[in-house]
């Protein structure tokens, strides 16, 4: 019975988070971080640096899906914002858009090869394909509305979980040395990637950026005594179009960053 009560407790914590935090806030400046870290000098000290590079950030719900959700949202948001460039083959946005559409089309075969059942993933691929096709006529506000609907938002997230899981399962040889506490990649994916609300560690971030071939730059804010956040870039080797997803990491949580327009 103990098992049940732990799960019940976790459910309650999750429900509380869902009531308190939206899936995404509007883009905001960093003043709320200043309030949040008023009595936390190491974090406080890094805010001016963030302000020098980024105009603001969008908070996302801390329900364990934050990296996955921020990644897919930011990808769609940047493509929608730059939809006027999508028909120009020289634009990085158009190159990323074509590449992603192709990847989603191919993802059924990849998920199947990784051992997933078509009845389980087809609805997810169908929705993502349809949303991608609609990008040239979509507004940011429609994307924001999508992420106010829990089922639609969770469908975006689950699609990325499938992709990360399939990538790791199909590259088990390379990555099985990096899973801690699990006998193999399959059991790691079964427990840490496939279920919703499981947090994303560095291994999943590597898998996500490798599988999508999209670059993610993450500013790590932590307790060290420097006045700058630490930038890390994934995948480690990237030679694709000039397109990036920007994120802010604070212990246990990811949010989307918006760079200054240069």
């Amino acid at each position: 019975m103990e098992d049940f009560s732990i799960i019940k407790q976790q459910d309650e914590i999750l429900r509380e988070i869902e009531e308190r935090q939206p899936m995404f806030t509007p883009v905001q400046d960093f003043s709320s971080l200043e309030v949040e870290y008023a009595s936390n000098p190491p974090f406080q000290a890094k805010i001016p640096y963030l302000q020098s590079k980024y105009s603001g950030f969008r908070r996302t719900r801390g329900d364990g899906n934050c990296f996955y959700r921020s990644f897919i949202f930011s990808l769609f948001e940047q493509l929608i914002q730059n939809k006027s460039h999508l028909s120009n083959p020289d634009s990085p946005y158009s190159q990323i858009y074509s590449a992603i559409k192709q990847k989603v089309l191919d993802s059924g075969d990849i998920l199947n090869a990784a051992g997933f059942l078509p009845i389980c993933y087809e609805d997810f691929i169908d929705m993502i394909s349809a949303k991608l096709e609609m990008i040239p006529t979509t507004e940011i506000s429609q994307l924001e509305d999508d992420f106010k609907d829990k089922i639609i938002a969770d469908t975006y997230v689950m699609y990325t979980r499938f992709i990360v899981s399939a990538f790791l399962r199909l590259h088990a040889d390379e990555y099985s040395g990096f899973v801690e506490g699990y006998p193999d990649i399959v059991s790691f994916c079964n427990s840490e990637v496939d279920p919703m609300n499981r947090e994303c560690e560095q291994l999943q971030i590597i898998a996500m950026t490798e599988a999508f071939q999209i670059k993610a730059e993450i500013e790590y804010m932590d307790r060290n005594d420097r006045t700058e956040t630490t930038l890390m870039s994934f995948p480690f080797e990237y030679t694709g179009p000039d397109f990036k997803i920007h994120m802010l990491y604070r212990p246990g949580h990811y949010d989307i960053l918006y760079p200054n327009r240069s």
């Binding site: 049940f4 997933f116 059942l117 009845i119 389980c120 609805d123 997810f124 979980r161 919703m196």
Partner: protein, 151 residues
Amino acid sequence: MATRTRLLRELKGKTEEFSLNNVGDDLMIWQAIIQGPSDSPYADGKFTIEFRVPENYPFAPPKARFITRIFHPNVHFDTGDICLDVLKSDWSPAWSLEALCRAIVALLSAPNADSPLNCDAGNMIRAGDMRAYNSMARMYTIEFAQERNLN
């Protein structure tokens, strides 16, 4: 809506491995008949399992329980509730009702005495008294899960 689409996909895509169907016109209640695995005391028993599908399926797992009475450490003897990680914390939309049937069959072959819903069964296994567990499980299989007793 998405839930219905998904369940219709599962209905169309299922194999003949189990007798798995929705009950009447209701897509939200399903029943499966699983065969007790031959390497277990449940051999040649047939067990009916009920799935109650929630509105937010497949994001939330179905509630699964044994309709047929069974003596197993991870099944509640009176309610038939099943303690299985993929029905709770490890649930993922990557699972299906048919895949769950397979996981439940596997659970019959590999009882987990660490988190028992049936303490009697759990204690027998933890005490290493497999003979007692096997004969109890066998006895209830003969009494409740054999063909002649199914209605």
